[in-house]
């Protein structure tokens, strides 16, 4: 089960009302490489992981991503909370406002709603961990683009924290991938169609 902690993982600061920045940052809430996708991806993949390290890492990283989702929501909420209708129209957020007022909703930067097809849960642990490593890199890139777009130094500070976490998670998933290769006793080579691992002689350790 999960419990809630009545605190953020990181003090998400916002300097001033900025609906235009909110429109970009919200993609890390409900976009393809956002925190909701990350969290749900890892938490749903963990059931079919064969080794204890992988079950633990997916549970813990999936949980940390939920905390990141709350941080992103806090940024967006505070960036639009005091925005006037004129501010919202100027920022191009009028479409969002028509559907959600200033409520939080899972959309990407262009307003497209979150869909489960952003994520995969394939059952093959090697495949799933590769997906997760790619996901962490995609999220890292997104945070870099958001940092470029940010004109609020306080928001940038929080974006930098989230950016760093993607790098750490990528590292942990890379270690999980190595542990899975050890578990399967396979050589660390790329799988090619028609390639038969039985034909490769085992290497003495």
């Amino acid at each position: 089960m999960w419990v809630y902690q009545k605190m953020l993982q990181y003090p998400a600061r916002v300097r001033s009302t900025n609906p235009r920045l909110a429109k970009a940052v919200i993609t890390q809430y409900g976009g393809p490489d956002g925190e909701l996708a990350a969290s749900l991806r890892y938490l749903t993949q963990r059931y079919t992981m064969p080794i204890p390290e992988a079950k633990a890492a997916l549970t813990d990283i999936g949980t940390e991503e939920l905390a990141h989702m709350e941080i992103v929501a806090t940024l967006v909420y505070n960036l639009i909370r005091d925005a006037s209708i004129a501010d919202i129209k100027r920022a191009g957020l009028d479409g969002y406002y028509a559907d959600h007022d200033k409520a939080l909703y899972f959309v990407n930067a262009e307003g497209a709603p979150w869909v489960a097809s952003y994520i995969q849960s394939k059952g093959d642990p090697i495949t799933d961990i590769h997906e997760n490593m790619a996901a962490e890199q995609k999220a890292r890139s997104t945070y870099e683009y958001l940092i470029q777009l940010s004109d609020d130094p306080d928001v940038t500070d929080t974006l930098r924290f989230l950016w760093q976490r993607e790098i750490v998670h990528f590292q942990r998933f890379g270690e999980i991938l190595n542990l899975l290769h050890d578990y399967y006793g396979r050589e660390r080579v790329f799988h090619m169609k028609g390639w038969d691992p039985q034909r490769i002689p085992a290497v003495e350790k």
Binding site: V3, Y10, D60, R172
Partner: protein, 88 residues
């Protein structure tokens, strides 16, 4: 939220961040005794900082895992997204 509560929360965030980072590291390095020692230390510090905070400001965790006083402080504002963390 007064300055003291914010200061205590920031300390909790720091300690919990250290514990989170070590937790993830230990997930893939369960035999690293130095990291385990460090985790145990941070975890202990975190627990005592949490207890100190909860004694004054009410439970940090729901479902019975936080410390509850004579009044139901859980519903007290502000919630995490409402705290103004801006440096003054």
């Amino acid at each position: 939220m007064d300055a003291r509560q914010k200061e205590m929360l920031l300390r909790l965030m720091e300690l919990q961040f250290a514990a989170t980072e070590l937790n993830l590291y230990l997930d893939t390095h369960p035999d690293d005794t130095r990291a385990l020692q460090e985790f145990r230390m941070r975890s202990q510090e975190l627990m005592s900082a949490k207890m100190e905070y909860e004694r004054i400001y009410g439970p940090l965790l729901n479902f019975g895992l936080g410390m509850t006083g004579r009044t139901w402080q859980w519903i007290q504002d502000p919630w995490p997204w409402e705290v103004n963390w801006r440096r003054s």
